[in-house]
């Protein structure tokens, strides 16, 4: 019977590896949640229609060769509700989100362009506060905002404001990052506590009647990237920032791209007690909850202790941990060794358990 079961499982995995096709008849919130539906939309519709070499990697930023210089290029839209939340606001997110997409691609952020969609009736002080928040975050990240656009839409159309940012950066020449360079035996490093941002937003919306002291982790991860490259550049395989869809989604993408297994030790993944409590009550796994200032790095085994020490030496990186390793089996999957001493799969996020978070 075990053989028969394994045969069925193998058939399912073969089917899962086929290129996703976008067949849905309407857009649902799940298409924006960062999980399976988002992946199908991006790979099955966008990447298919725009097909080109730079896009095909579906990385956090596209890598371009511009007159011989390695350039990273990315864009991001921010529709978070509420606009302000403990630990940050939409303006800060808009800068840090794009900075981080460049950073984890191994590129030093050089410049940002931004576009605002503003709702008729928006209090000008709210806008001023966000513009100032962006200016502060940009200064902290050392990247100027160099271009922009403004549109205004009728009352009731844009939750106050939506912001998009586009960023350009120059690749650090020491960085040789690619998911396909991941090898069995590599270690998975995580820069700190997970699920703070998504949980802070859920609580800030006030719909759940839960109260806990949780603060968004929004920040630039570029200092972590520099520390890793300084300490172990040739051994850093790939880096990602686990935003929508959380740590679970990033690890699934890596396992799929590299066709390797990822084995995570549940009890080593740091989750703050109030975050764990809120997630437990809501029936949400913190592994799927968004972060806006964390970094996951896959590092060769021999460099792992050194790389971890480097992460911990960065202010704000004291809680960095080695959370797991890469295995050759089961290819394309993430396994979790549970605190309870069992094993389970951690799949991509299905559906949309969360409100708009970024």
């Amino acid at each position: 019977m075990a053989d028969l079961e394994e045969e069925v499982l193998a058939r399912i995995e073969r089917q899962r590896k086929l290129r996703p096709r976008f067949r849905d008849s309407v857009i649902t919130m799940a298409h924006g949640a960062g999980g399976k539906a988002t992946h199908t939309l991006v790979a099955g519709l966008f990447a298919h229609a725009y097909a080109n070499d730079a896009l095909s990697e579906l990385a956090d930023a596209a890598r371009l060769d511009i007159a011989g210089a390695p350039v990273a290029f990315t864009t991001d839209a921010f529709v978070v509700k509420p606009l302000r939340f403990p630990g940050g606001s939409i303006g800060e997110l808009a800068i840090n989100g794009t900075v981080n997409d460049l950073a984890v691609s191994g590129a030093k952020p050089l410049a940002i362009a931004t576009a605002f969609v503003l709702e008729e009736g928006l209090d000008a002080n709210v806008l001023k506060a966000e513009v100032e928040a962006m200016a502060r975050a940009a200064e902290a990240a050392g990247v100027p905002v160099v271009a922009g656009d403004t549109k205004v839409v009728e009352r009731g159309k844009a939750d106050g404001m939506y912001i998009t940012t586009t960023g350009i950066g120059v690749g650090d020449e020491r960085a040789r990052l690619s998911a396909t360079s991941i090898r069995p035996g590599d270690h998975i490093l995580l820069s700190g506590y997970i699920a703070d941002h998504g949980t802070a937003i859920m609580l800030a919306r006030g719909e759940l009647e839960l109260d806990a002291d949780v603060v968004s982790d929004t920040r630039s991860v570029w200092p972590f990237v520099v520390a890793l490259l300084d300490a172990a550049a040739p051994h850093v395989r790939v880096m990602r920032d686990p935003t929508r869809g959380g740590v679970a989604t990033v690890l699934n993408e890596l396992a799929g791209d590299a066709d390797v297994g990822v084995v995570l030790d549940e009890d080593r993944v740091p989750v703050r007690p109030p975050v764990k409590g809120a997630c437990e009550i809501l029936g949400i796994d913190p592994m799927y909850v968004a972060n806006e200032g964390q970094l996951i790095a896959v590092v060769a085994e021999e460099a792992a202790p050194h790389a971890l020490a480097a992460l911990r030496s960065v202010p704000g990186g004291e809680d960095a941990v080695d959370v797991g390793r890469v295995a050759d089996q089961p290819a394309g999957m993430v396994l979790v060794n549970t605190t309870f001493g069992g094993t389970r799969i951690m799949d991509m996020l299905i559906g949309d358990p969360l409100p708009r978070i970024c």
Binding site: A2, E5, E6, V8, L9, R11, I12, Q15, S25, V26, I27, T28, A30, K36, A37, T40, L208, P273, K276, G277, E280, L282, G283, A327, Q329, P330, M333, L335, N337, T338, T339, F340, G341, G342, T343, R344, I345, D347, I350, G351, P353
Partner: protein
């Protein structure tokens, strides 16, 4: 985290696993059914099977409230949700259950005002805040959730709310268990009794299982150590040749149940003569509807619903999965045509459904993972 981590200790789990293995008679295969979908979820999420000998098999039962809703009832809900001026509320899982033509989530994307709530009281609050809208709560669940629906209705009545109603799909736990035990294609050794249901109904309703069918029942909690301890208690009964009801979840389940909750249910609900269960067909006296005193709050009376029976898709074997006759992976469409993102059957929708739990958490070759560890 306090009061949770204590129930997830790997060392204690290994000790219980060793005791369970010692009680297993060589050459005997044990089939233990966990009735409740919440237990199924815990089993896969924490990898409980890794602590059990291979001869102790867990069979997943029918106690998943979303899984037992037939397609026709989903369509009835969607018909109401699509009406102008209606705010339709339900639990999150319910939104993805496919009816004959799409799910509530699809209806939402097409413009219906469908909102998910964590409690029927949240739906009541929406009704208070939107006096010009008709707010409907799609009530599902066993005796676990029925009292909160009942209490909400009593409050709505006391407040004289005119714009609130409930589409009642509450079911009861004992009739499907009887149907299972009478089923010729299933041979079980023992039952893990549902925990949350029993906080309301107590342990007494299961007395017929040891008495009439000679099988032990242990009512269990939802943490992984609760389940392992319950399995140990069942294995001990089997080794002793006993068949009794025992209560592992005494910290939450009183033997007599929650009399106040039962009174509230008595006030608001009456037994339907029969009700259709997904995959199991019609079971007599197995579900609840509102009493005449609450007829004004009955969404099925307030709105025209088609009330048509929609046959399950041919390929779908949810019925066999719910009865524990087949394992999720033995269903012909499991994991290929039927996945959590494109479910055909209800068991693939709810996080408590056996198919979803197995697909999301257990879909790997356990033997190879053990060897590789």
């Amino acid at each position: 985290m306090k009061f949770v981590d204590e129930y997830r200790d790997a060392g204690l789990a290994r000790a219980l696993g060793t005791k369970i293995a010692a009680l297993a008679e060589p050459g005997r295969h044990y089939k233990i059914m966990e009735v409740c979908g919440g237990h199924t979820h815990t089993i896969y999420k924490h990898g409980i099977e890794d602590h059990l000998p291979e001869t102790v098999e867990l069979v997943h039962g029918p106690g998943c409230p979303v899984c037992v809703i037939p397609m026709g009832r989903v369509d009835d809900g969607i018909t109401i949700a699509r009406r102008d001026n209606v705010i339709f509320t339900c639990f999150g899982d319910m939104m993805r259950v496919p009816g004959g033509d799409g799910s509530l989530l699809d209806a939402k994307a097409q413009g219906a005002d469908v909102r998910f709530v964590y409690s029927p009281l949240d739906a009541l609050k929406i009704a208070r805040n939107n006096p010009d809208k008709d707010v409907v709560f799609y009530a599902i669940g066993f005796e676990t959730t029925a009292p909160s629906t009942a209490l909400t209705l009593m409050r709505a009545k006391a407040e004289g709310l005119k714009n609130f109603s409930v589409m009642c799909n509450h079911v009861t736990i004992v009739p499907p268990l009887k149907a299972l035990l009478e089923s010729p294609d299933l041979r079980l050794d023992a039952f893990i009794g549902p925990g949350h249901v029993s906080t309301v109904v107590g342990c007494r309703p299961y007395e017929f299982i040891p008495k009439d069918y000679g099988q032990p029942v242990v009512v269990a909690g939802f943490e992984p150590l609760d389940l392992l301890q319950a399995i140990l208690m069942l294995m001990t009964q089997l080794a002793d040749g006993r068949a009794e009801i025992e209560n592992q979840y005494a910290r939450a389940v009183p033997w007599e149940g929650n009399t106040r909750a039962l009174e509230v249910m008595q006030e608001v609900f009456r037994l339907r003569p029969y009700f259709e269960w997904r995959g199991l067909g019609f079971i007599s006296q197995s579900a609840l509807s509102l009493t005449d005193d609450y007829a004004d709050f009955d969404a099925e009376l307030r709105f025209d619903v088609p009330g048509v029976r929609v046959a399950d898709p041919k390929a779908c074997q949810c019925g066999e999965v719910l009865k524990g006759v087949i394992k999720p992976w033995e269903c012909k469409v499991f994991g290929t045509a039927c996945t959590p993102e494109t479910p055909i059957g209800t068991c693939m929708v709810s996080s408590e459904g056996a198919c979803a739990a197995y697909y999301n958490f257990g879909r790997f070759a356990r033997s190879k993972a053990r060897a590789g560890a």
